[in-house]
């Protein structure tokens, strides 16, 4: 039972608790660059997740064969292989998307999330755990990219996934689809995430204090009664 719980945790923790973008501040370049629309963000996140999951799986399966001194080089070769696969498949199957993402598909190879997970998790844990961890982190990345893409596409060009959502009377904010909009959106999103976490922490602390006071009161009351 306990083992199941922790396995689930390996997967879930990437969503929010250790979200690669909002909490670990990794993989900022693609997050900012490709989130002009939901579709681009989704495609980028899926490609990254593919590379992340398979390279974590492979690295963790061969982790005992890799000498410690050359591990970074070995990780990079594994990652580059999967990135090449993703890049070529995308070029063949979705030429438009591949063109829209530009050099950012090959640049997955230097995405710090992947090397970070390989170094911090996959090189120390069993393949199945690494798989879950990678999948969780990939999903966390996907969530942020889709939310970013959604906000920017909705306000910047009035559409979501290409369908017009806001009425014609709404003047699209051009800045949202320009580079500046990416920085502003991510900055506000991170600020909101921090705000939420702070609020939660504060309410938890207050609850604890109140509980403690209550128990102290009980003790005092009991002492007086005695």
């Amino acid at each position: 039972m306990k083992a199941n719980k922790t396995l689930g945790y390996e997967y879930i923790k990437g969503f929010w608790e250790t979200n690669p973008v909002l909490k670990q501040v990794l993989g900022m370049c693609p997050t900012l660059a490709v989130t002009v629309s939901v579709m681009n963000g989704l495609a980028m996140a899926l490609a990254t997740t593919f590379v992340l999951v398979f390279s974590s799986l492979l690295i963790s399966s061969i982790r005992k064969l890799i000498p410690n001194q050359v591990r970074i080089a070995a990780f990079i070769v594994v990652i580059a292989t999967f990135v090449t696969i993703a890049d070529l498949v995308m070029k063949a199957q979705f030429p438009d998307l591949s063109k829209a993402l530009g050099p950012f598909v090959p640049l997955i190879v230097v995405n710090c999330i992947i090397l970070g997970r390989a170094e911090a998790f996959a090189s120390k844990n069993s393949p199945f755990r690494s798989f879950l961890d990678a999948l969780g982190n990939g999903t966390g990345f996907l969530i942020v990219l889709v939310v970013m893409g959604g906000i920017r596409e909705l306000i910047g060009s009035r559409t979501l996934l290409g369908y017009q959502i806001l009425p014609n009377g709404f003047e699209p904010w051009l800045i949202m689809i320009l580079p500046a909009g990416a920085f502003l959106t991510l900055g506000l999103l991170m600020g909101l995430a921090n705000f939420y976490v702070d609020k939660k922490k504060r309410s938890e602390r207050e609850e604890l204090i109140q509980k403690y006071r209550k128990s102290q009161n009980d003790v005092e009351v009991k002492g007086q009664e005695a």
Partner: protein
């Protein structure tokens, strides 16, 4: 004239950090102090020019004639990683003061997407060797400039009263957004 355009375009109009989003990690990480920003910028520019030369030779003299373009990503990343190691060793041997100034920043450059981005862009745009070198120089100059401006702003930002949830990375991102907005003014230049 062509070369000047490439330089200006890489340095200002299509600034690597503020409009292509390459090299955001060091941009957020090392832009605390103007002095370290300049050291980092110098190290990046130096490696960028070298990368431009080496990856141009690798791509157009080795990969293209033998129809090995699909090996582009692994070969570029390995070349850059070994180049950085090599540069580090040479600098350590030749000039101790320079090594001390660049020291810790050099290994960080390997995972800097601006460097790999530069190599990929110059092969995509099919620049000549000279154009590639100028492109590398311009990109490095633009990176240094963005980093330096950002560091200057962040030094002032230390003294201001930022709302607590926005301290650290979020306010830096918002500042970068405003900076990108300012850089958009150059868009009509070329």
């Amino acid at each position: 004239m062509d070369l000047l355009l490439i330089f200006l375009s890489a340095a200002i109009v299509n600034n690597f950090v503020l409009s292509l989003f390459l090299g955001i990690c060091p941009f957020l990480g090392v832009s605390n102090k103007t002095s370290s920003a300049i050291s980092m910028g110098m190290a990046v520019t130096f490696v960028m020019v070298l990368t431009a030369i080496v990856s141009w030779i690798l791509y157009f003299i080795v990969l293209v004639p033998f129809k090995l373009e699909f090996l582009q990503i692994p070969s570029f990343i390995l070349v850059i990683a070994s180049l950085v190691q090599f540069v580090e060793m040479v600098i350590k041997k030749v000039s101790q003061p320079l090594y001390r100034a660049l020291g810790i920043f050099l290994p960080l450059i390997t995972t800097n997407c601006a460097i790999l981005g530069l190599a990929l862009l110059l092969s995509m745009r099919e620049y000549s060797l000279l154009q590639s070198i100028i492109f590398g120089l311009g990109a490095g100059a633009g990176f240094t400039m963005a980093l330096f401006i950002m560091a200057g702003i962040r030094e002032e930002l230390e003294l201001t009263d930022v709302p607590k949830p926005f301290r650290g990375v979020p306010i830096t991102l918002i500042t970068a957004g405003l900076l990108a907005l300012a850089f958009m003014g150059f868009a009509g230049m070329i």
